[in-house]
């Protein structure tokens, strides 16, 4: 259906450019019980995302031009958001040999990442950055010192001490960020640090940018809105006061994510980074998992939060308490990620937003196969009511939208 922008605006909805997600997991091929390209693209539309960058930690990993081309062809056959593919940095994401990066870029890889793992070997990572520079594509790095995070399953702090869970210290991220920045400075390659979660990481990027290092970064909606107290059962968003009535059972594996939910001071630092431009983009790290991976003991559960469909409401919450301006977060969902990819905004992609509507997150209403979010049952404010790709209305939610269209 053709998109009639004025009909929506007349109803008081906000129409903004379609969102671009630099970081989503579509799980296909290999883990289709958790998500498929089709369900992931539908979930994206419901979240207002018109372009999503799919991470290559599939089985097999997206590390060959042949597989990449096949996936691009598959993507044309279903409806939904536009999918771009991030190719693996190393063969099989094993961190030992570089993938054929030049050929992958020629086949359509939009960026490179071994996401889920860092490239531990600093020499190999240097080579990856040198190659990335030749292709003109950014390297998206998951910054984590694996020896330091060890067997951690949540943020190391007073909450992990209380719960008796092994912690991942902030320094495990920050020391990797420092290394990555040093290598970006040396090679001049475009380094994009994804899902930064600590105050120290943001400060390192702030200084590197001031020094002219070609580094960009993103943060996730869940790290902007939730703290490590959520592992202990809190369900108060970072800007809300603790509410006994909202308390959930502790050790809920839906709060287990990597990097882990951090402390309150870290959350504030991420917002400060958004406001002063240190943070370029908000990316979901949408990580859907089949229930068998999550319905287990906390320390055995898979890391990840299903995030495409709740991203907007979470960041609007921070706007509501003036932690950032509306324009700042919309830029971080649109222009910011486009710049990271070195591209312009698509000309006719739109997201239509109802800023005031309250809605309850329900598992059976999520289009994603991944129901793994600690927001299930929570009331959020603000929702995408329609999404437009290439001028075509591809998603239209709820009765209020139908009414808006008919009532013109």
């Amino acid at each position: 259906m053709k998109f009639d922008r004025r009909a929506f605006e007349a109803k008081g909805y906000l129409v903004v450019p379609g969102f671009i997600d630099l970081h989503a997991h579509l799980r296909e091929p290999g883990f289709e019980d958790s998500e498929t390209i089709e369900t992931g693209r539908r979930a994206a539309l419901r979240g207002g995302f018109t372009t999503i960058c799919a991470m290559p930690n599939t089985e097999p990993a997206i590390d060959s031009p042949g597989l990449l081309k096949e996936l691009l062809a598959r993507g044309k056959t279903v409806d939904g958001a536009r999918v771009r593919y991030v190719a693996a940095i190393t063969r099989g994401r094993k961190g030992r040999e570089l993938a054929d990066m030049v050929e992958l870029a020629a086949a359509g890889a939009i960026a490179f990442s071994d996401d889920g793992s860092p490239v531990e070997d600093s020499h190999l990572f240097r080579s990856a950055l040198e190659y990335a520079r030749v292709t003109g594509r950014p390297v998206i790095e998951h910054a984590q010192d694996l020896a330091l995070s060890a067997k951690g399953v949540m943020h190391e702090g007073s909450v992990s001490a209380r719960l008796g869970l092994p912690g991942m210290p902030a320094a495990a991220e920050e020391s990797a960020v420092a290394r990555d920045i040093a290598l970006a400075r040396m090679t001049g390659a475009n380094l994009h640090l994804t899902h930064l979660s600590t105050a120290g990481s943001i400060e390192l990027v702030r200084r590197a940018k001031a020094d002219g290092v070609p580094v960009t970064c993103d943060v996730t909606p869940h790290h902007l809105a939730m703290t490590d107290e959520w592992v202990a059962g809190s369900r108060a968003l970072a800007w809300e006061v603790e509410d006994e009535a909202l308390l959930a059972v502790p050790y809920d594996s839906s709060t287990k994510v990597n990097p882990p939910l951090r402390g309150r001071a870290d959350v504030r630092a991420l917002w400060a980074g958004l406001v002063d431009g240190t943070v370029d983009a908000i990316a979901t790290d949408h990580a859907p998992h089949a229930s068998v991976k999550k319905d287990v003991e906390f320390d055995q559960a898979a890391f990840g939060i299903s995030g495409l469909e709740t991203a907007l409401a979470l960041v609007l919450g921070g706007v509501g308490v003036h932690w950032a301006a509306l324009g700042t977060v919309i830029d971080a969902l649109t222009l910011g990620p486009a710049r990271v990819l070195g591209s312009d905004l698509p000309r006719d992609d739109w997201a239509v937003i109802d800023r005031d509507v309250e809605w309850v997150v329900r598992a059976d209403e999520l289009a994603s196969k991944g129901k793994n979010t600690p927001l299930i049952g929570r009331t959020l404010t603000g929702r995408v009511v329609a999404t437009v790709v290439d001028g075509e209305l591809r998603y239209e939610g709820a009765a209020r939208v139908a009414e808006a269209v008919n009532g013109r």
Binding site: G157, S158, G164, P169, D295, F298, D299
Partner: protein, 320 residues
């Protein structure tokens, strides 16, 4: 009754009244255990399932004796020989437990938080018999009982907990149980085995950290030594067991720094010669065997209170 819990998962949110109710009930149970025939009928017809997914002889036997002393039917699902070792998921085990229909599930598990997982998915009352590094509520309660019995009111008393606090569910439960009773706690041990947040002052009110064990013990009212797992050295957390025992081992000289007569406790099993000298472990101040005896009574008290909540339990006295 001040006690109305459906499960015993952690004592971290228990009030002083709730803890004292259990300790008072424990005293009544100790009387039963002192009778010539150590058996009372209140749990007749009720089923207690012991689900130990991590091996433990002492705690399991203690619960078994407790349940049998109250005339419950007791059945075991242990790690060895059960499907847990064959890779059956906890979810499957819970469904089985639910289908078996026990009234109480007593569980030990290597994963912190596992009892919450089970409690959410079963109608039975769940007692946490130790989960990962998180909690061991019955140990905390039996330590509180034993201490109170030995030194009286704990208000203002200072208890030293020394050793591997980081990996210790006993330490966490002791802290949670002793603090509401008015005790103050001093933690001591190697920096690598105390949570960083706790060494940086983010401690619950009433708890302090003192790395120097001699100073920690000066004038203390009691000490609880924790078991040191030998793997800690291999994982880079300790230089050597020899050094550990020199610096943080409980010796007679160190124990003498405490208030005269101050007791020594240990949750067992002990590594004599590492965290505690044999002379201290078996000395006059040691309450280590009393802890074991009291453990049965505390577990009887909890089983009784949980059963009472589910429906009137039978009498504690056999009717003539």
């Amino acid at each position: 009754m001040k006690w109305n819990r459906r499960h015993v998962l952690d004592t971290d949110d228990w009030s002083r009244d709730e803890i004292e109710t259990v300790l008072d009930q424990t005293r009544a149970m100790i009387e039963i255990l002192q009778r010539p025939i150590r058996r009372a009928p209140p749990l007749r017809g009720r089923t207690v399932i012991l689900f130990f997914a991590e091996s433990s002889t002492r705690t399991r036997v203690s619960f078994e004796l407790a349940a049998k002393a109250l005339s419950a039917d007791v059945t075991n699902i242990t790690a060895s020989g059960s499907s847990v070792e064959k890779g059956e998921s906890l979810y499957d085990t819970v469904r089985t437990l639910q289908a078996l229909g026990g009234d109480v599930v007593v569980m030990r598990h290597a994963s912190s938080g596992a009892p919450y997982f089970v409690a959410q998915r079963t109608d039975a009352a769940v007692i946490n018999a130790g989960d990962g590094w998180h909690a061991h509520p019955t140990q905390g309660l039996l330590d509180a009982y034993t201490l109170r019995d030995a030194v009286g009111d704990l208000e203002g008393r200072r208890v030293v907990i020394v050793g591997d606090v980081l990996h210790s569910r006993v330490a966490r439960s002791d802290i949670n149980t002793l603090l509401p009773l008015g005790a103050r706690i001093t933690l001591s041990g190697p920096p690598t085995l105390i949570p960083l947040a706790w060494r940086c002052g983010q401690l619950p009110p009433g708890v302090t950290y003192e790395s120097d064990l001699d100073r920690a013990l000066d004038g203390a009212d009691a000490v609880i030594a924790l078991r040191l797992q030998r793997e800690r050295q291999e994982s880079g957390l300790l230089p050597s067991l020899r050094e550990y025992s020199r610096v943080w081992g409980l010796t007679a000289d160190r124990v003498a720094r405490m208030r005269p007569g101050a007791p020594v406790m240990h949750p067992g099993p002990m590594n004599e010669g590492i965290e505690i000298d044999a002379s201290v472990a078996h000395g006059t101040r040691s309450l280590i065997e009393t802890q074991v005896t009291n453990g049965v009574a505390v577990r009887m008290a909890l089983l009784y209170l949980l059963a009472a909540r589910a429906g009137p339990p039978g009498p504690l006295e056999e009717r003539a």
